[in-house]
Symmetry: C2
Subunit: 254 residues, 2 copies
Amino acid sequence: MPPYDPSAFPPFAVTVDLVVLTVRSHSLCTLVVRRGETPFRGRWALPGGFVRADEDLGAAAARELAEETGLRAHDPGAPHPVPDHGAHLEQLATYGAPERDPRMRVVSVAHLALAPDLPAPRPGGDANSARWAPVEELLDQARAAGDDSPDALAFDHAQILSDGVERARSKIEYSSLATAFCPPEFTVGELRRVYEAVWGVSLDPRNFHRKVTGTPGFLVPTGGTTTRQGGRPAQLFRAGGATLLNPPMLRPEV
Amino acid sequence: MPPYDPSAFPPFAVTVDLVVLTVRSHSLCTLVVRRGETPFRGRWALPGGFVRADEDLGAAAARELAEETGLRAHDPGAPHPVPDHGAHLEQLATYGAPERDPRMRVVSVAHLALAPDLPAPRPGGDANSARWAPVEELLDQARAAGDDSPDALAFDHAQILSDGVERARSKIEYSSLATAFCPPEFTVGELRRVYEAVWGVSLDPRNFHRKVTGTPGFLVPTGGTTTRQGGRPAQLFRAGGATLLNPPMLRPEV
DNA sequence: GATCATAGTCGTCTTCCTGACGATAAACAC
DNA sequence: GTGTTTATCGTCAGGAAGACGACTATGATC
């Protein structure tokens, strides 16, 4: 089979960028790394890198995630849920404006990862340093200072982050995805605090408890209890097999 | 600024593929073109093509859509809705498995377009011919005959089509997107038949009427009436400004 | 022109879900 | 013990949806 005519199409570089979200001290945080190279040297950016020649897009995202955080990604397409507790990873969207990278044509396939609270990030790859930053802070900076401010994220990463956060906010409404922010065993209160942090609202503990325990297949009790949040001991649960929440959890109007 | 080191990343070709959906004679249909070139010569495929060197991804999708159907795409990011009746166009997902194209590494950014019923497609580009095919027929063939059957879609297009249909099915639940399948003025019954065709169910006309007319901003009456569906004359409506449907339209369990 | 078929529109009733909130339970700190 | 914190159960009113009856206005058929 003859190869394609190389003049028929221009060459592109393809990268993956990661929006890694977690909940730390009651606020939604994302992983950012400081760029050590031009362009945008010294600015914060989402972790990411080039897709290798024989690598699938999802595999590239999983590799970058492991390099930056040590997390193993769950493959949503796997026939059985992976028993150990890795991160949820899904494709978010693809960004390919011609001038988004000043040096050449780069198309970036952004991915969204949701992880339970992690120890401080281990710097790796081309990053001088890495940190968990509250998303509100990052997005407010981009809105207030403009994209050219030294506090703003590099490239179009503010847009990618914004899209990723919106995806997470809407997806926990109608799926069990919020459990991806929790450790393997968790209490109803811990799950409620995840919703509160992601949505930036406060929820009625009694109605929330009724909703999540009344949805078949959403939570399965492990039998244990814990007092790690203080107060009366709470039942421990694992995520059940149900992935869709029907009817959905309603996000309160602001 | 020095260019990137070319050895740091492998070259990719980037294409856009289109899932163009419409409702014809009470069933959900998609546009497919017959391939005139290897690979998969003679097989049906989704329309698409290479992204040009200075072209944004959305612009490439809009260009391909216009070439294949003559439709102009609405830009969802535009500050005001475009008054004329083009198609809804949005990015769907990106497919980049290393062997998805046998000749070289191709990453395809799939887009989803929703259009009102159109005249027979005009063949264009590299397609020998084009047709509207019922999606159930196409997907059943892929499932029954396997991907190597001559009836199956080329490349991974059965997967892309399946993802696009699922996106459309879920998105009309909580948005006013179903109006994109309708002409500029339409009746409640015509809108209901769109939902019925996309979901493959039948809906109660009375409850549907109550739901869509009771949601503020969803439909605005034009004052006219029509009897083009037979029976009692029905009020004509245009799509209102509301894009989100809250609470959502509930898809009946199968 | 009467009858019929077709489609549209308005109501009613029951059931389910949610939001608001009272009350009780079981731990810890002092 | 008292107070504080968190968890859990229960009650009640309001809203939305499913099921379905009733009526209306057109064109088609006899």
